[in-house]
């Protein structure tokens, strides 16, 4: 079965011109959206519905650079392409060791009330992690994506490995930031947590 890159007539590359992708998405939507096939035969309508659903799924998988990397890894590893499935790789051991201090502070904060000193420390840590998360995402969308696109077939496993590690780092950072925000009471308004971590 063809993949989402094929749906948009693209090669399997991570660098994609966002504006061109959006233009193509609109063109394909005009071609397949059920609104424009109301008077077709039931079989043609079913085909349009399926094609339209596929165009939407493809756009969702490709429009965001980080989500695009996740999709590429699934493709390269030949896994089932499940929309909405969570990817939860293991966090890199070096990062875990590095985060030990923050985890301890979190444990303490959860156990008792957060005083002003602890709060300041946690806020500083959260800021640091947010910057680091932004850096990781920039690396995924930028140099790491470029590296994969330019890699020779021999270099590809290493390039893919680097992408996977960055994704794992990102997932872990997001979890810790979520935990920090929860302890700092910054998540009061949001009751929906189910999808924050994919």
């Amino acid at each position: 079965m063809s993949d989402y890159f094929d749906t948009f007539g693209l090669e399997r590359r991570l660098e994609i011109d966002a504006a061109a992708l959006q233009r193509r998405f609109y063109e394909l939507s005009r071609q397949w959206h059920p609104d424009f096939h109301q008077r077709a035969t039931p079989a043609e309508q079913a085909r349009a519905l399926e094609a339209s659903a596929r165009v939407n799924a493809a756009y969702r998988a490709l429009r965001d650079p980080v989500v695009r990397v996740e999709y590429l890894i699934r493709l390269e590893e030949g896994r089932e392409t499940k929309e909405g499935a969570t990817v939860k790789p293991k966090a890199p051991p070096a990062l875990l060791a590095e985060m030990f201090e923050i985890q301890e502070a979190l444990e303490e904060a959860r156990a008792g009330a957060v005083d002003d000193v602890t709060r300041t420390t946690l806020v500083t840590q959260r800021e640091g992690l947010r910057q680091r998360l932004a850096g990781t995402e920039a690396a995924l969308a930028g140099p790491l994506s470029v590296a994969w696109d330019r890699a020779t077939p021999d270099e590809r496993p290493a390039a893919l490995g680097a992408l996977k590690e960055a994704l794992a780092t990102r997932a872990y950072l997001r979890t810790v930031i979520d935990d920090l925000e929860a302890v700092l009471g910054e998540r009061a308004e949001e009751t929906h947590v189910a999808h924050r971590r994919h």
Binding site: Q22, D35, Q38, E50, N56, A57, E83, G84, H192, A194
Partner: protein, 620 residues
């Protein structure tokens, strides 16, 4: 190809619209008397079913047989609505997968009541065009779940309408505004109606309306504003007039008619206070008259928490779209409740810009539905709406955890495939529980349906591979298909919707709806005339009991004569005579009414005369 109309099936009012062929613009279809809004109210009287304004006039008179705000019950089960019911004067009963209303000596489901409103709109359109109309685009709140959308489609079918598309109200509104003519931009549509709230964030570019995120609350609207004001008035009356109430052993809270009067008075005051700073209320009760001034500030204090509740979903939708308020180019207000000044202020504060409200917020959704209808009919080809599913769709897995298949705010149509297998040797049936919502546990989400995949060939556990495709169509409604991969044959699926009507139910209701036929025009006018006569007779009797001492002998004879004449006319079937006699009685009692009003105002305001109060108090 026959015409497709656009219908806004609202909590409070409903409308039908179409795109005019010559101008290419959407227009609302008025009824024979030029009225554009059809109140979404249905009264079940012994003489037949009334709908719209005629039914609305029955609210205080026949509170237990007159259904309003039925949209809040659509696609819902007993557990969803039981807390709401103490506020509703009509009886609601639990039923399999739905609720039933016990009104006018029979039981009806919410889709059947909505069907009566839809049928009235269908007839209005047919009268306008002079030919049958059998297809419509119907709008729903963006945050409606699968069952609520399905219930809306069912209502259409019962009314004899093929609902060719369910469209989200805020997105419909953006179509009506023709915002694509402004070129490119990001738009927030804030839609606060009678019973529901939606916020949608859209990107408009090259004629494509792409919804980025939507959020809302299907149980928050102007009805709730009315209710807090109503309860506040009730308390005030109870404290000011407790002596009279205690003497007559009246518990206003349990008096359906009085509570409906209060609700309507609260609503009217709210509406007046949208354009004025203060207003006065005068409500006659058995034994006393309640009179007071209300300021906008007082009402704002009461509704403030409700208005604030709309801001959380707005922030969530922005976050889901990856945007901040500064990224929003235009803000559009939709729904009658956005006329409330406090609502406008809060929206303006949140987004930091002046909202659009050029189009009538009551009509804009129907106009947009008409545009979408025209797109489907092939009459408009340069606009396309790409909407999203408002809630995540998932299946229940081991331990009651939800595995999300389609995340909220995914562009529709969309599909997800999942493989299932057996866990026991020789197993031939696999159960799936599909839920909708954002919580991690299935029990906290909305149960949509249980699917049974049947006819699996007996094999060792884990061997069968059943591929199930979950597809959310352009209406936001789920379709499920299953296929056994080894054999390639479609697996049979039995769907047990958790909420909603079965196919057989709907078939039966389509049949029965003909026996619910609305009273014909002549009968309807007669019923109305009689009802009005009853209302006046009741008021006069009450006034005579209350203020008999103010009536002289001559006057008494005139009034008694007019009462007797009206009673006689009412027993007949000539509605013109009934109307004449009603007018006569009104005339005969006018001097009495004035004296009573004067006395009531004196009681309330010391010794000032009524005409002084009118001048200085700024009464409307």
């Amino acid at each position: 190809m026959s015409r497709i109309v656009g219908i806004d099936l609202g909590t409070t009012n409903s409308l039908v619209a179409y795109v005019d062929d010559r101008s290419g613009l959407p227009v609302v279809i008025p009824d024979a008397d030029g009225r554009r809004l059809l109140p979404s109210v249905v009264a079940f009287t012994p003489d037949g079913v009334l709908v719209g304004d005629a039914a609305r006039r029955q609210l205080a008179r026949r509170p237990t047989d007159t259904v309003y705000s039925v949209k809040r019950l659509m696609g819902r089960g007993w557990d969803d609505v039981k807390d709401d019911l103490r506020h509703l004067p009509f009886r609601v009963l639990p039923a399999e997968g739905t609720v039933k209303l016990a009104v006018g000596g029979r039981e009806v489901t919410p889709p059947e009541v909505s069907a009566i409103v839809l049928r009235a709109l269908k007839e209005r359109a047919e009268a306008h065009f002079g030919h049958p109309i059998d297809r419509a685009v119907v709008t729903v709140p963006a945050y409606f779940n699968d069952s609520q959308r399905q219930a809306t489609k069912d209502a259409g079918r019962i009314a004899g309408l093929d609902v060719v598309r369910i469209v989200n109200e805020p997105t419909a509104a953006s179509l009506a505004y023709g915002l694509h003519r402004l070129g490119q931009g990001t738009i927030a549509v804030y839609d606060l109606g009678g019973g529901t709230f939606d916020i949608s964030i859209l990107r408009v570019k090259d004629g494509i309306f792409e919804v980025l995120a939507t959020n809302g609350d299907t149980h928050l609207g102007g009805d709730d504003f009315d209710r807090v004001v109503q309860l506040w008035l009730l308390e005030d009356i109870q404290s000011r007039h407790h002596a009279a109430l205690d003497r007559d052993c009246v518990d206003l809270a349990r008096d359906n008619e009085a509570m409906q009067e209060l609700r309507l008075a609260a609503e009217a005051a709210k509406v007046r206070l949208s354009s004025e700073e203060r207003t006065t209320l005068t409500l006659p009760f058995e034994g006393f008259t309640y009179h007071r001034a209300i300021t906008r500030a007082e009402v704002e204090r009461l509704i403030e928490p409700l208005v604030t509740r709309t801001l959380g979903p707005c922030r969530q939708a922005l976050a889901d779209a990856g945007l901040t308020p500064a990224d929003i180019d235009q803000v559009v207000l939709v729904g009658g409740s956005t006329r409330v000044p406090l609502v406008r202020r809060r929206v303006q504060e949140l987004f930091g810009k002046m909202p659009h409200s050029q189009l009538d917020p009551d009509e804009v959704v129907a106009l947009g539905a008409a545009v979408q209808a025209q797109i489907l009919a092939g009459g408009i080809t340069d606009m396309l709406l790409l909407d999203v599913t408002p809630l995540s769709l998932g299946i229940e897995t081991l331990g009651g955890i939800v595995s999300v298949l389609i995340a909220r705010n995914t562009t529709i149509p969309t599909s997800a495939r999942e493989m299932f297998t057996t866990s026991v040797d020789g197993q031939t049936v696999v159960d799936l529980h599909v839920v909708q919502g954002e919580r991690e546990l299935a029990k906290d989400c909305r149960s949509l349906a249980r699917f049974e995949l049947r006819g699996i060939d007996p094999m060792p556990a884990g061997m069968p591979k059943i591929e199930v495709t979950f597809l959310i169509d352009a209406n936001g409604i789920l379709q499920v298909q299953a296929r056994e991969q080894r054999t390639g044959k479609a697996a049979s699926i039995e769907v047990k919707p958790t909420y909603g009507l079965t196919e057989a139910d709907v078939e039966r209701m389509v049949e029965e709806s003909f026996t619910y036929a609305e009273a014909d025009v002549e009968t309807r006018l007669l019923i109305e005339a009689r009802n009005e006569a009853d209302t006046v007779l009741t008021h006069v009797e009450r006034a005579l009991r209350q203020a008999g001492a103010l009536v002289g002998d001559d006057e008494r004879r005139r009034v008694d004569g007019a009462v007797a004449a009206l009673r006689q006319a009412r027993a007949g079937t000539d509605r013109d005579v009934i109307r004449e006699r009603t007018t006569d009685l009104n005339h005969a009692t006018e001097p009495l009414a004035e004296r009573m009003m004067d006395a009531a105002l004196k009681g309330a305001l010391g010794t000032r005369r009524a005409d002084e109060v009118m001048r200085s108090g700024g009464a409307s």
